[in-house]
Amino acid sequence: MRARLVFALAWLCAVPGAMAQDTRKSGFDYMSRDSQAMQMDDLANPGMLSVLDGESLWNAPAGSSQKSCASCHGDGTVSMKGVAARYPAFDEASGKPIDLVGRIDQCRRERQQAPGLAREGHDSLALTTYIGLQSRGMPVSPPDDARLTPFRADGKALYTRRMGQLNFSCAQCHDEHAGGHVGASPIPQAHPTGYPIYRLEWQSMGSLQRRLRNCMAGTRAEPFAYAAPEFIDLELFLAARAAGMKVETPGVRP
């Protein structure tokens, strides 16, 4: 009895402590209940349509090699488990970091010997979403690779650098004013846990880079081009910032 009481007390003390440690919130927590329900129901989440397309692309032979993703990687639901949670990662061939979209494109061009996939195109988003789904519920786990450190530091510098006519940095909104509002929209903490997302405003799927370009246009800065090294560095930093949070792909956002 006494042991049980001590245990209960220890548990009571430990839980508020554990909650106080992590104040990070996913964009999911800022959404209305309707949007949350839409994301959680796989038969109502429009991102799952993209997953279905991704699954058939995974099994479709492409290019002069006539190989599909499945020819090498087998069953995607097994081999791709936790993969999206580790990206961006270091690419040995180029000596630079590469994001998941870039890796799929690289595989497509070099190993399948097929034409590359256009960034933000339907197929690229579908495959990324399908691979992303296999990590759903797993913690974001950026690779512990010292070669990525300088790139991550560059991402952090970009995150805190003011840009655009409005002269805002990412940090000013998403660190200092997270939880506040810009117009009627809540400002989330900017943890990229649900990408690629189905954004209701876009009425389509979009990658993290599309979202970042959106934000840059909002501060009236000239957005970086898709796949620009600056974006990969930012993605690296954001992944490290969200380390341990659960992957939600495919997320729904308003």
Binding site: A44, P46, M48, L49
Partner: protein, 106 residues
């Protein structure tokens, strides 16, 4: 290729009210937007949705340009007997996408 997600209960008791949810992938282009070249993008929306249950129409809807891409349609019906539900979506291009779902009623 158009994709649809259907949520039809596989089993139901006779006389039960069952909820059916459908999600169809479609751009639902309104016909009011301009493309990069400044010209109007031609309208392409799903015009009608019909659900039949053992040949009888249990739900149908006419859709209009203000409806979002990938329309989600949910409705209820009464489980009467085992059989098939057939869902069909017809768009401005005249293409009809048909999906079926079995239902068993005890």
């Amino acid at each position: 290729m158009a994709r649809a997600l259907l949520n039809v209960p596989a089993k139901a008791k006779r006389g039960d009210i069952i909820e059916i949810k459908t999600l169809m992938s479609h751009p639902m282009e309104t016909g009011f937007r301009t493309g990069a070249d400044g010209k109007l993008v031609p309208r392409d929306i799903i015009k009608s949705f019909v659900c039949t249950y053992n040949g009888e129409v249990v739900f149908s809807a006419d859709l209009f340009p203000a409806i979002s891409a990938n329309p989600f349609i949910a409705f209820t019906t009464v489980a009467t007997e085992s059989g098939t539900m057939i869902f069909s979506w017809t768009d401005d291009k005249g293409q009809t996408q048909v999906q079926t779902a079995p239902i068993s009623v005890e």
